[in-house]
Symmetry: C2
Subunit: 337 residues, 2 copies
């Protein structure tokens, strides 16, 4: 999500706004009841539902598609937006060890074009069907005073349930734990303001077997099939990071103890071509790129070395050994960024 | 919510868009799994969570504040918006016999003003605290390409649990059942496009002990305290309508059997002055007014005549006897609209 990190509820600092962020954070923390078991700024919020005879932990995440909608509207290719919306939310839940139960959507625009709305709602429904969850509710709003002509915003909430036995307490993470990654298929839903600016004149250029535009509009993929078998053997996994805004450094830091960091071997994978093109056509440094985009890695698991075989056997995806946890609180890369 | 009914997922017909609406509706219905126990277009979606030893029904609703934000931004009075957001969602859950567990928010704008964001987030947190629920998650996004300068959109999701014993099957509703209403304190979050247009030159005029602007910005109230005691004796209540966009006629029709209607005695209550002023300053007919605004009634309960005493004793609010259910599928008023 573009520039979302500028002032987001996960508490990222942007200097002058710091005090405001802290104030807002304190006000939010002040709403927490004993049932809340997630940290502020987690991939999804966790809520312990105490029933008569058992306890279940619900997980919920709200997010938008960001300015990927601008590109999709411009190209009149709206069919992928529902997958962007639902899959992003589903992956946020996976990051907390939860599987999705249902989703809700909110679609707003300057003026409602019934055909476009239908296309988007069908896309959301298709994405839900693919994951096997109902689209339980939603809202469609037309607000000409609020939205720029032609533009839309698309927001979704996914609610799920944490799988039994999950324990993603950061304190279980140790020096030497392995970082295993799943490849991404492109930008997913992050970095579109930078990408659109860089590639505005290149959208119709070929990129491999497709165009740059096509590469940019590939929908955010979900990792349910890869993660679900791992959640069934929950003791193997010490943490899961969904690589979204802030890239590998920010999102990995969210699941490590504050005193620890990670070392990542950049030669372990090859980022999709689109990332190099964005960098070539912009003034972004490699540090900027890794701090904005997922750079080809969609999810990262923290795993004890002795569980490596169990985890790689269970996951149906091609897990990439990215690096390991280190005892210093930095995310470092080799080759250096 | 302004003009929201134009094309909303509850399936309201706007002529040419009908086919698109139906297509979208079918696509959404196609996502429904056996766990979904709500009808399409209900106040909140219902999901049966089957656990090992018991069953619990979750309720969830997503909605926005609509163009009430435009007025709040213009007046630089953002402190009420969080209450608008949370209370609207909470009331939607009450309409399904559910009490809220937690909420999530989404706040997006053209450009983030840290002070305003802080004010709004604190307002959301305050509203959550007042209801006793945590703000479990949320997102803040800055999208200059999507939003008009200075404008914001504010969206919330409230998740709750249906109270034991609730049975709002419309088929239980009978001719002669009573309609008991709870008063609203103003427009809540509906009809602001019409209201803003009508009153643009009158905002600073006095209206009783306040200004017109103040009257328009009174936050949406929630009815937890009034409804909770009723949900503890669930057999007394056959249905609850939250009066939002579409007013009494549309929202009452959502909880009655398709073959039935209602007759409402307009002399039973006195709408807040702001509604008469809006009508005086616009070309809206009384039919338009009742089809757009809540007209002073925030919630309506369908109750069997023999339960009237039990219900009025239990509810801490001042229940107004509005009328009764009739055997014809129309919502009629006397005096006529």
């Amino acid at each position: 999500m573009t520039r979302r990190n500028a002032y987001q509820q996960s508490g990222v600092d942007i200097g002058a706004a710091e005090q405001g962020i802290n104030e807002a954070k304190l006000a939010v923390l002040d709403t927490y009841t004993p049932e809340v078991s997630s940290e502020f700024g987690a991939f999804a919020g966790l809520y312990r539902l105490n029933l008569d005879s058992e306890e279940v932990t619900l997980a919920a995440s709200t997010d938008g598609v960001g300015t990927k909608t601008v590109l999709a509207v411009q190209a009149n290719q709206l069919e992928g937006l529902g997958f962007d919306l639902i899959n992003h939310g589903v992956n946020d839940l996976l990051g907390q060890g939860a599987l999705p139960l249902f989703a809700l959507d909110y679609l707003a625009s300057n003026k409602l074009n019934p055909q476009d709305i239908t296309t988007i709602l069908k896309s959301i429904a298709n994405a839900c069907r693919k994951v096997g969850i109902p689209l339980l509710g939603g809202e469609t709003a037309e607000m000409p005073d609020v939205y720029n002509p032609g533009e839309i915003d698309l927001v979704g909430t996914v609610v799920g349930v944490v799988q039994p036995g999950i324990n993603f307490d950061r304190e279980r993470v140790e020096e030497g734990d392995l970082l295993l990654g799943l490849p991404s298929n492109g930008l997913h839903t992050n970095g579109y303001t930078l990408a659109r600016k860089a590639l505005t004149n290149n959208l119709q250029d070929p990129l491999g077997t497709q165009t740059v535009l096509d590469a940019l509009l590939i929908p955010h993929q979900n990792y349910v099939n890869e993660v679900k078998p791992l959640l069934e053997q929950p003791s193997c996994i010490k943490g899961i990071a969904h690589i979204t805004g802030g890239g590998i450094p920010d999102n990995l830091a969210r699941i490590l103890p504050p005193t620890m960091g990670a070392h990542i071997n950049r030669d372990a994978w090859c980022p999709p071509e689109i990332f190099q093109l964005i960098q070539d056509q912009s003034e972004a440094t490699t540090i900027d790129m890794f701090g904005t985009f997922n750079m080809g890695i969609g999810m990262i698991f923290v795993v004890s070395p002795e569980d490596r075989v169990e985890v790689t056997t269970r996951s149906s995806g091609s897990l990439i050994e990215l690096g390991q946890v280190i005892a210093e609180p930095n995310i470092t890369f080799s080759p250096q960024l």
